[in-house]
Symmetry: C2
Subunit: 204 residues, 2 copies
Amino acid sequence: MQSRTPASRTGRPRSAAADTAILAATREALVELGWSKLSLGDVATRAGVAKTTVYRRWAGKSELVTDALATLFDQLVLPDLGSLRADVEGVVLQFAELLEQPATKTALMAVVAEATHDDALRQRLREKIVARQKRLVVEGRRRAQSRGEIPPDTTDPGPQIDLIFDMIAGAVVHRTLVSCEPVDSGWAARFTAVLLDGLAAAAG
Amino acid sequence: MQSRTPASRTGRPRSAAADTAILAATREALVELGWSKLSLGDVATRAGVAKTTVYRRWAGKSELVTDALATLFDQLVLPDLGSLRADVEGVVLQFAELLEQPATKTALMAVVAEATHDDALRQRLREKIVARQKRLVVEGRRRAQSRGEIPPDTTDPGPQIDLIFDMIAGAVVHRTLVSCEPVDSGWAARFTAVLLDGLAAAAG
DNA sequence: GGCATTACGCTACAGGTCGTAGCGAAAGCT
DNA sequence: AGCTTTCGCTACGACCTGTAGCGTAATGCC
């Protein structure tokens, strides 16, 4: 999680409680203050640690918020609801619910913004967020294939997975954070219908 | 563009050249520094104006960057390419090209991030970016209807327009800025096929 | 032309944040 | 015990913020 874990065995170990306290304080401060007014000194005070302790573990605000964000995305799971359509609607609503949390929306957009001009941060974002969420698409496809709802892969499914991932995540993020409209069950049903019907028609 | 235009007729008028210079300097500084390291004092120096002049016109960093961003989005047009499919592919590629510009991607994400906890900024964003660009969807639908490609409206087209807008803009933004993959003509064609086939199937 | 009004550039300022350095004390391992 | 590393704390220079005051420049009105 931190920038380095040099396999040092001697000396006083770092407090694991401090890690969780700092990440929790970061999420809390993000909700109250937003990205631009979030200061690492304030985070340290909230977490009950010294400011220097924060700087010893994270290089800056971007890295700290990225890790705080990763703990939020770990909540996502893919429940088996019995059909592809129900699974997609379920993950859409679940993802929207996650993005409703103030800490999630603020942190995600701010980190993406910083990542546009920071290669290391972009790499960190792809590893800890994007790659993890793509597994939901892979798993949903695998279930649908085992149910016989969609045919098995004949070609490389990679581009198809990327397209589905960007369409689902992009639409939910855009509606929630840019258009600022709620993702309710009605919207989720209409979106899922367009997506699945379009995929079926484009494949056949 | 600025916060107030009190219809004052007497006194020295504000320099329009200063406006454009400040906005251009903002876009330039955003590319070099990113959001978090962008300072208004630096923008003023780049624009060749005093720092106080910037503060007289914009309340803060968020408002300034939002206006700088709006000037970029106003470049978007909807060329008539003869068919709905070609029009959609054209606007997808054009939007992707706009998002390839470093100033656009940085500014858009940063403003969205700040808007998650700033009601006034969110309102500004909706007025100057979202509402303005929805015109592209409305215009594209109107053209397709006049060509007979899609039936005329029978119910309120508002939700349909919102869904299309979020799906197009969301997918392009997500692929470009979060997944960090290029939007080339192949991806645009596959995305457009899924979208239009899905809309046709869901309507019929 | 003279006058009021407003914007401009410039300087200065208090307040806050940043990121680092140094110190002694605490906590673990051998 | 002795060694090593982290911990909390304080202090520091540097930078950015947003405002105030000053004299000057540009415009409209009389």
